[in-house]
Structures are given as C-alpha cells and as structure tokens.
Symmetry: C2
Subunit: 418 residues, 2 copies
DNA sequence: TCATTTAATTCAACCACTGAACAAATTACG
DNA sequence: CGTAATTTGTTCAGTGGTTGAATTAAATGA
C-alpha cells in the first residue's frame, strides 16, 4: 500500500452528501472559524448570536473543541453592565501547529506556526544550494525540520502537517517538474524525504504538501497581512517572476496547479527575446538579472537575497543607474500588473520576495502605471504595498496553510488520539 | 511509519451555521445536482451509491423533489441482468424556468430556459438602440419579456427569476455605471423596470439580476459547451473586448464585480494610444473598430452583429485586406490571451460574441501565439474554440444562471407555494 | 439584601439520517 | 412453467444532534 502524498488543493467537485454526523463536523468548523476570525475573544453567547445556532448547541460544540485542545477559555473580556461575566474563547496556543519549509537558492528555512497564527520558531540556514544535489539539499532540510520539530515538541506543540515551498513548477504528488534556479528537474520530493516523518499523521491533513513558493508566499500574506484584502496579487521578484493569486480569501491554483506565471506577460511584444520563446516578456525587464544588468552590476551570479540587498543599498545611497533601473523595472511591472488587475478586478497588489526590500523604489512607477491603465481605479483605488512578511512569506505561508486546514475541518484533528 | 492520509478538499463555502433543517436543504441540493449532472437518468439506488446516502434517505429526498415539480420519473433506462427495473429520474421540463434578457447595440433578446437546460423560447428584436433612451429601451425590453413570459406560462412553465445582460460595467443593485456603446451612464435598471414583474417571486432567487454581457455569455458557454472544461476564458469581441472568467466551474466576478476587462491589456506598450489613457491596448488592435479599419471598411458605425458578418463574408470571399486584418487581430488577441492563460493556468479559451463568426480566421494566430508563449503548453495543450452558442450566449447564459440557482438551492423553490 | 441582567447548562422533544427487514418487479435457470 | 436469484424501492424502529424552554450561575445596581 502506498501512501498518498498530496501536492495541491484538489479541485474538489465532490458533491459531498451531508450525513447525520456531518452536521456536527460542519458546526465544529463554523464555530472554530468564528473564534479564529473574531478580534476579541467571543463568549459562547456571542457565538450563538453570530452563527444562529442555539446556545445549547454552541456549548456542546465548544466542549468538543476544548476537549480536543483547539480552544481554550481565556480571561473574561471586560464588559460593562450587569450580568454574569462571559468566559472568552480563544484558539489554543499549545495544540496543533503547522510546519512550514522552504528551499531556495541561497537558504533553507523552517518555521512553526501555532493555531493562533503566532510564529513560534523560525530557523534559517544560509548556503548556496545551487551546487548541492537535490537529495543532499533535502537531507539538510530534513535535519532542519527535525530541529524545528524538536523545539516545537518541547513547548507542547504537535505538528499536524508540513508544507514545503520550492521556487518552481510542482505537479500533483509533490513532483518538482522544474525549478530552474535550483537546477532541479523532475525531483520527487516525497520519495527523497521518504522515511523521515515531518509531522504527526492527522486525518485530512497531508503529512507533506509541496507547492510553489509564490503560492505559499501569497498564503502567508493572506495570513499576516492587514485584513480586508481578500483578493490580491502577490508578486515575487526572483530570477523568475512568480505570482500568487488570492481570490475571495482562497488561493487560486489554476486548472493544473500552475497558475501565477506572470513573468511572461508581454510588456513589449517587439522587445527583447526571452528564453521562453516570446518577445518582450516581463521577466526580461523586471527580473533580477535584468535589473542587475541595468544597474550596471556584473554579478548575475549573486543569490537572490544578496542581489536585492545590494540593489537596495545602492538605491538608498542614491546611485543614479540603480534608481533608473528600478524605475524602469517598476514601470514594466506596473504595465503587467495593471493588465492583471483589470482582468481580475483586484483591490491590492503585494510586492514580495525579492521585490519586498525594493518596494520603496518600485512602488511609485507601479502605482503610476496601475492608476493610469486600470479603468476602475477612479471608482475604487488599488493598493500597492510591500509584503508584510518580506522574504519569510513562503515558509510562514506554508505553515499557515496547515493550520488553516485544521480550522477549516477540525474534526480530522479531533478524531486523532482523542 | 507512514499511513494513508487522503487529501480532502474542504468544501464548505458558506460560513453559515448548519442547523437541523439545513441537513435536508443540503441533501436536496446534492441529490438534485447529481440528477442534473448525470448523463443517463439515474435511479434512486444509483443516487444512493453515488452520494453515499442511504436508499431510504434518497427516497425521501426524491419524494420532496418530485412533489415540488423539480424532478419527474422517466421511462426506465434499459438495463441488462436480473432485478426489479429501476425508475429513472430526470429534471422536470414543466417546472421552474429562467428568463434571460439582453440589451445590446442592435438588438433586444429574451429567452426561456427550462430546468433541463433546453431553450424553450428565444425572441430577438433587431433595432438600432443607440438613439433610444434607456427608459424607452427598457420599456421595449419589458414588452419582449412579457411576451416570452406569456409563451412560457402557456406551456406550464413558471419563471423563477430573470437575468439581464448589458454590455457595460454593472455595480451592485443593478446600476449600470457605464455602457459606452449604448451611451448609458448610471442607468438604474431595476428602478426603470420597476413596476413590471418579470418573474414569480421565489425565495433565494432575485427577481432580476443585471450583469455584464461577457459574464453571462461565459455562463452560457459553461452551460452549453462541452463538459470537461471547468476553467476557461470566454472572450467577447465587440466594440470593446470583454472576458468572462470561469474558474472551477464558477464565474469569477472579481472583488467588485468588474473582472474581465481584457481589452486594455497592453499588447504593444509603445503602440497606439488608447482612450483609456494607456498605450497599445488590445482593444486598439483586436477591437471591432480596429479590425474594420485595418480591413479597409469605412463603416465604423455598423452595429456589432453586422460588422462581424461583413468581415466574415469578406474573409470567406478571400479578400486579402480582411484576411490580413483578421490575422493581425488574432495575433494581438493571442498575445493577450497567452498572458492570461499563463497567469490563470486555463485549459480552454472560447471565442465568443463578435469573435464567434470570425473564429475560423482568428483561431490560427491565437493558437500560434498561445502555444509559443504559454510555458505549460508542452505539458498540457490549450484548446481554442468558438462559442457553442454564438451571439446568443449572453441571454441563454442569463437564463441558465437562474436555473443554476434553483439546482444549487432547491429548497427556495420548494418552500414556494407548494 | 434583593431584584435585575446576562451567561451557561440541563433536559425533553423533534427532525432527519441509518440500517435492517420487507415488499415489488424483473431475469435466470432447472 | 415455476422457483430462485437479484435488484429496486419502502417501511420502521433506532440514534445522533439540534431546538427551545426552564434552570442554575455569577455578576451589577438600588
């Protein structure tokens, strides 16, 4: 019997019938989501009013959640007026947690996020991984993951699942089809990580999800960013340019999980030829190599992080070539982003990955192009902002995707040991 | 030890609580959807097997559906082997129906679609509506709708809702912000149609939905097109160029309902200036006016339908200027569409509206650009096809959106009179 | 101190699904 | 031709989970 490894969200057309027990299953999720989304610890009565369920039902559901270590009673929120004081309910900080992993060109990262969304641990190992074989890289990653897990367990946390971000195309089953900057091609991550368990088995939560770095970074921003922007585009500027698309609070992955290829939107059809075969692709104007070349920096070989830092230093020092390069890149990016915003009617654009430290200089030209080209900008402005988590977005987003699964379907966790 | 953990897409969409009665409500929808999606009339036993519910439950649910005129028993499907013959279940053809309406530059349309998806009536009134005031136009539309309704009622149908397609931006509440080709600005459709009821009031179904023509046309293609393509882009070439985006079988409307503005994706940033303020927008290369001008046709004043027909005639006759114009337009369209397909990972592109009759000449250059520029085209080909419904897509799609609402939540209809 | 107010629990009633037994309607086979 | 096999659909007691009202709990205020 083979283990089922999952990669991306299943396009679940499953017309799930609602059986007797599903009722409780669904209400557990409803109540837990409400607790997670509240800005103030709600009481059972608050939850009853908000969900439309009876107080009796809410009490029963909450009892289950507390017994399963998903929810804890907090100090009563101070309330004016008479009446028995409410007992506030909050997500438990010592229950399940998610493990977020990231492999990138110049570092490995592992982080642990608990149910409340707090980043409990964050480990980063810097190293140039391009000369390292995939197997060795994943060995090092597994060691880092084990370290993070041990630290989490010491604090009483239980890792309920793991998500790995890679800078490349991932297909179902965790197969990395192509990660050009790492030099990976058809790397079967679950097989190479095979024996080493990263997390406890929990029903409904795959032990390891492998996903595109831009996708998970977008989830990280959804998780950490200011509330209210439920539809946004997260643009990651690395050597390639990837985008994570969040629509109505959910990551959109595309028909095959390969959405977000924004780097080859044409910004100048008669312009520079691109390795993809097209002409004038965005990547040739706003990709890292293009910016470095335009700034007069020879180091096309620099790891991603370092390159962005170098550019930020030069720009901060007022280097004219760098400033021009960033303005031009921002303009190209703005052209492409404006097209996307027009198409999808988004209200927010997040500059992440390598763009995060450069956002100060990239934003103005992006904003200029967007407000010039987006038809509805007059009625409803488009926000352009740097990533709240910066370069950590992907690992945190991966971990957050695990806890999100628990919150969306708590019965899987509750059915665990008990 | 690794166990088998199957991934399960979390389905629950609404944050609404699941109350006692919701159980039946949800299962009514599950069973009805199954019947609608089946290619052969299923028996109660088939449904039980497919949904996981008990045969007893399915029987009870089906009884409700039959009592509510949503489902009928059909002739038993011939089956080999022993056993009591099954009674096939099909959607009722004499129950609720949807009314689809369309206002366009040169015609008004109304159509009636029943639960089975059959177009029962389709009325079109050709007239140049640009000189007509919005109020007068809507008066005529109401008359046409009344005619369609009378015909439907004569056949025993009950109109459960109506959807109106307009070529413009629509905001919540049915306010048409801007329909440039009609010359409409801030037209309050519900108010102008005010007193005249278009459909019976049914719980959960708005009596009139006003939506962008491209959106409803995309729904029409989803309804009528070949199954299997649940994520596609429907491009409508009129004077402007609109796109309806269907993701995972659902129309994506954007944060404010204004998605699909594909006409201003830049295909040549240093090219022709556009009325939107940008440069080199797609509309200036593949819009109707641009194609007509390139083909050497003076009649920029032609109504949309006629223009497409004229171009098709000329192209069929082999007129060189027209053929070149169409190839160039197709190339520009292909550049833009390739960007969208890369971004959203779509597997199908539908050429509709004014493009439908021209698809024979537009498709090749579109396909060429798409296969050249879409990175994943090598792994999974992208289909480019003309709209199955042609110019009728929008009205039919509007009607189909009504019956879809009934199928997705039948309890609203059942709670009606019966 | 006692009425008032709000929070949370308890408990009988009820609704909808479950599972098994049964009736119905056909084919398979001796 | 008649009986067994087979599959469909219904009936009915049983059960899980929600409901609504009554009850208990814990505070404020006069």
């Amino acid at each position: 019997m083979t283990a089922v490894w999952q990669c991306q969200g299943v396009t679940s057309t499953s017309t799930g019938a609602v059986r007797q027990g599903s009722l409780r299953e669904l209400n557990l999720a409803v109540v837990l989501r409400r607790i997670a989304a509240a800005d103030r610890p709600p009481s059972r009565a608050d939850l009853a009013a908000a969900t439309g369920l009876t107080r009796a039902t809410v009490s029963a559901v909450v009892d289950d959640l507390i017994a399963g270590r998903l929810v804890t009673e907090a100090d009563p929120a101070p309330r004016a007026g008479a009446g028995r004081p409410a007992r506030g309910l909050v997500l438990a900080a010592d229950g399940p947690a998610g493990l977020g992993l990231e492999v990138n060109v110049d570092y490995l990262a592992a982080c642990v996020v608990d149910l409340t969304g707090t980043v409990r641990h964050h480990l980063v190992r810097r190293a140039d991984l391009r000369p390292v074989s995939p197997a060795d890289t994943l060995d090092r990653l597994a060691a880092l993951a084990a370290e993070a897990r041990a630290a989490a367990v010491r604090e009483g946390l239980t890792l309920a699942g793991a998500a790995l971000a890679v800078p490349g195309l991932v297909s179902d089953g965790g197969l990395v089809r192509l990660a050009p900057n790492l030099g990976w091609r058809d790397v079967d991550v679950p097989r190479l990580l095979g024996g080493r368990p990263l997390a406890e088995p929990v029903d409904g939560i795959p032990p390891l999800v492998v996903d595109n770095e831009a996708n998970l970074a977008a989830l990280g921003e959804l998780h950490a960013g200011p509330p209210g922007s439920a539809s946004f585009l997260h643009v990651s500027g690395e050597i390639g340019i990837g985008a994570g698309i969040v629509l109505d609070g959910a990551l959109y992955r595309g028909a095959r999980g390969w959405s977000g290829e924004i780097g080859h939107i044409p910004v100048d059809p008669r312009g520079r030829t691109c390795r993809c075969g097209g002409q004038g692709c965005l990547e040739r104007y706003a990709g890292q190599e293009a910016i470095l070349a335009a700034a007069g920096l020879p180091g096309a070989d620099l790891p991603a992080d370092t390159a962005a830092a170098r550019l930020a230093d030069l720009a901060a020092a007022g280097d004219p070539a760098t400033l021009t390069a960033l303005t031009d890149a921002g303009t190209a990016l703005g052209v492409a982003v404006a097209g996307v915003v027009n198409l999808l009617d988004l209200d927010t654009v997040v500059l992440g990955g390598g763009y995060a430290p450069l956002a100060r200089w990239l934003s103005p030209p992006v904003v200029a192009e967007v407000s010039r080209r987006v038809l509805t900008a007059a009625w409803a402005p488009v926000t352009v902002r740097p990533a709240a988590l910066g370069a950590q977005s992907a690992a945190v987003g991966g971990a957050a995707s695990v806890i999100r699964r628990i919150i969306d379907r708590p019965v899987g966790w509750l059915a665990r040991s008990g």
